[in-house]
C-alpha cells in the first residue's frame, strides 16, 4: 500500500481552459507507472467520486510516454466567475495526495 504523496513525482492541478480542470499524476519510472496502472485505482470513477462530478464528464488518459495519468473534468465554477475560489485551478490536487495505491 502506498499513498500518492509518497510515490508520485508530480501531483498537480490546473485549468484546461476556463471551464475545465485537469489533474496530472506523474511517476518517476516506467516500472512504477505500469504497476500503478495495473492496480486500476486511477480511473474515471475515482475522480468522479473525489471531485463530485459525473463519471461521463471525466476524460481520463494514461500517458505512458510521460509516465503520467491525466484526468480532465468540469470546474465547480468557470474561472473568475462569482463563487470561484481558484482562478488558475492550481490548488485542487490535495484530495489526490491521500489516494492509496496497492503497489
Amino acid at each position: 500500500m502506498a499513498l500518492i504523496r509518497d510515490i508520485a513525482a508530480v501531483c498537480k492541478s490546473k485549468n484546461a481552459g476556463p471551464f475545465d480542470l485537469t489533474i496530472d499524476v506523474v511517476f518517476d519510472n516506467d516500472d512504477l507507472f505500469e504497476r500503478v496502472r495495473a492496480t486500476g485505482v486511477l480511473c474515471p470513477a475515482l475522480f468522479a467520486r473525489l471531485y463530485d462530478v459525473a463519471e461521463a464528464d471525466v476524460l481520463f488518459t494514461p500517458y505512458p510516454a510521460g509516465r503520467a495519468f491525466k484526468a480532465t473534468f468540469p470546474r465547480l465554477v468557470p474561472a473568475g466567475d462569482i463563487g470561484d475560489t481558484d482562478v488558475y485551478g492550481c490548488q485542487q490536487h490535495a484530495p489526490m495526495l491521500d489516494v492509496d495505491i496497492p503497489v
Binding site: G17, F19, D57, T61, A68, P74, I82, G83, Q91
Partner: protein, 453 residues
C-alpha cells in the same frame, strides 16, 4: 535536410528571461525570435478591461531585448496574443511600446499588426448560417450571448502570421492566437510539415518550461521533416525525454490529442530520445487535417462590480459554531440591505472561510476545522459600485457584531487588518464563449495592418 531553428524567450512576454539566455540563443542563428504574449488563465477580467496581466514595465523590458536582438540579426520577431488577452487595446499597448523602443534605439523595420477582435455582426451571421459549433458542454451559440459580450476575440492559427511574413514584415504582433501559432507559422512557411511545426510551437509557447529546473527562460527548438529537437539556451537547464514528454500535459484536456485551428496534433506515438544530456529529439507526431477550418472564440461580459473586505477571528467559540454564525450574518445582511433598498437579487454575497474551505469550497473533503484562527474574505458583487459598497459595509459590520450562542467577545468578532477595511475591486467579468465558427478562409477574421517604423 532543411531545418528551421526557433527561439522562444519565455512563457509570457513580460515574465522576464536572463539576457545571457537570449544572447546564447541568438548565437545559434535562429530563423526567428518569438514569445507567446497571453493566456486566458488569469481569468476574464483582462479580456474585459482591455488591460494586460503582466506589467507594462516588464513587457517593455522583454520587448526591448527581443527587438534589438531580432533587428541586429536580421530575423523576424513574432509575438502572439499581445498584451495578455489579444483584444484591440492589448495589441495597441504592445504596438505603442514597439514604436517607442524603436524610436529610442534607432531601429527601423516593417511591422505587421494582426487584429483578432471580432465584429458582432459577422459572428451573428455565422450563427444564422449554421456555421458555429459549441465546444465541450457549452450550449449552441446564440445572438443574445453575442450582443451581451463586452469583447469577443477569435483565436488565429498560423496562416495570418505566414501572410504577414510573406508581405515582408520583420516584426509581427498578433492579437489572440492559438499559443503555438506564431512559431508553427515560421516552420510551415519554410515548407516543413504541419506535425513537427505544431509540435515545435507547443514546446516554444511556454519558453523553457519543457526543461528542468523550471524557470522563465529561453528555449531553442530545431524543426525538421521528421521531428523536433528541444534545448534550453541557459546552461543551468536541460531537457530530458520525460521533461519534454510531460510538457504535453500542460494546461490541456488530453496529453495526446491537441485540437488546433485546421486540425488535430496527435502525439500518442511520439518517441522521446536524448541527443545529449540537455537536448531531446521528439519524433512520431501526426497531424490530422480537420474537415473544416475552425476558429475558436473567447468572449466576456460584465456581470457587475465587486467590493471586498478581509478579516479574521481568533475566537474558538465562534470557530466551533461557524456555519450557523455565517448563516445569521447573511440573513442580517439580506434584511438590512432590503431596508436600504437593495433587493437580494441585486447582489451576490460570498463569504470565504480560509482555514476551512476557502480553497476548494464544496469540493473540500475535510470538514473539521483544525486551526486556532480563521481568515475571511467578504466578497460582494452588485450591479453598480455603490450598491456593492453598501452591501459590503453591512456585511462587514455584521461579521463584526453578530451575536452567537456562547459569545464572550462582546466588543467584536473579527480582527480587521486595514482602515479602510472595504476595498472596491472594480468590474467583474464572466467568460461566456467556448465555441468555434467556420470561416471561409483562415485569414478572413484577422485583418492585417502594416506600418514602416
Amino acid at each position: 535536410m532543411p531545418e528551421i531553428r526557433l527561439l522562444s524567450t519565455s512563457g509570457i512576454l513580460g515574465y522576464g528571461f536572463p539576457e545571457e539566455s537570449l544572447n546564447a540563443g541568438l548565437a545559434r542563428k535562429p530563423h526567428m525570435v518569438g514569445c507567446d504574449g497571453g493566456s486566458s488563465d488569469p481569468g476574464p477580467y483582462y479580456l474585459g478591461s482591455g488591460k494586460p496581466f503582466a506589467s507594462p514595465m516588464a513587457i517593455r523590458r522583454d520587448l526591448r531585448l527581443m527587438l534589438k536582438g531580432a533587428i541586429e540579426h536580421g530575423i523576424p520577431m513574432v509575438v502572439g496574443t499581445c498584451g495578455g488577452a489579444g483584444g484591440a487595446p492589448h495589441l495597441e499597448l504592445v504596438a505603442a511600446m514597439v514604436r517607442d523602443i524603436a524610436a529610442e534605439e534607432g531601429l527601423h523595420f516593417r511591422m505587421a499588426l494582426i487584429h483578432a477582435e471580432q465584429d458582432k455582426s459577422l459572428i451573428k451571421r455565422r450563427i444564422a448560417e449554421g456555421r458555429s459549433r459549441p465546444l465541450g458542454r457549452m450550449k449552441p451559440l446564440d445572438a443574445d450571448t453575442v450582443d451581451r459580450a463586452d469583447r469577443i476575440v477569435g483565436m488565429m492559427g498560423p496562416e495570418p502570421y505566414m501572410r504577414a511574413l510573406d508581405e515582408g514584415a520583420q516584426v509581427v504582433l498578433g492579437g489572440r492566437s492559438s499559443d503555438p501559432a506564431p512559431f508553427a507559422a515560421v516552420a510551415m512557411r519554410a515548407q516543413l510539415p504541419p506535425a513537427p511545426s505544431w509540435y515545435a510551437g507547443k514546446m516554444l509557447e511556454c519558453g523553457a518550461t519543457p526543461s528542468i529546473p523550471k524557470g522563465h527562460d529561453c528555449l531553442l527548438v530545431t524543426v525538421r521533416d521528421d521531428g523536433v529537437e528541444c534545448e534550453p539556451t541557459n546552461p543551468i537547464r536541460r531537457c530530458t525525454p520525460v521533461s519534454v514528454a510531460n510538457h504535453s500535459l500542460h494546461e490541456n484536456s488530453s496529453p495526446i490529442h491537441h485540437y488546433e485551428p485546421g486540425g488535430m496534433l496527435d502525439t500518442s506515438d511520439c518517441r522521446f530520445d536524448a541527443l545529449t544530456d540537455r537536448a531531446v529529439k521528439v519524433s512520431g507526431m501526426r497531424w490530422e487535417k480537420a474537415d473544416a477550418y475552425s476558429v475558436k472564440l473567447e468572449a466576456v461580459e460584465k456581470i457587475g462590480y465587486r467590493a471586498i473586505s478581509i478579516c479574521g477571528t481568533r475566537d474558538p467559540l465562534l470557530i466551533s459554531t461557524l456555519a450557523p454564525f455565517l448563516q445569521s450574518v447573511k440573513a442580517n445582511v439580506r434584511a438590512k440591505a432590503q431596508d436600504f433598498g437593495v433587493a437580494p437579487e441585486e447582489y451576490t454575497l460570498t463569504i470565504r472561510s480560509y482555514g476551512h474551505d476557502g480553497v476548494m469550497a464544496e469540493r473540500e473533503p475535510v470538514h473539521d476545522i483544525a486551526g486556532h484562527e480563521l481568515g475571511f474574505l467578504i466578497d460582494v458583487v452588485a450591479q453598480d459600485p455603490d450598491r456593492a459598497a453598501a452591501v459590503l459595509a453591512m456585511a462587514r459590520t455584521n461579521m463584526l457584531h453578530t451575536d452567537f450562542p456562547g459569545r464572550l467577545c462582546r466588543e467584536g468578532n473579527m480582527a480587521f487588518p486595514f482602515s479602510p477595511s472595504d476595498i472596491p475591486a472594480g468590474p467583474v467579468f464572466r467568460f461566456t464563449m467556448s465555441h468555434v465558427v467556420l470561416p471561409d478562409d483562415p485569414c478572413e477574421m484577422f485583418p492585417i495592418t502594416y506600418e514602416t517604423i
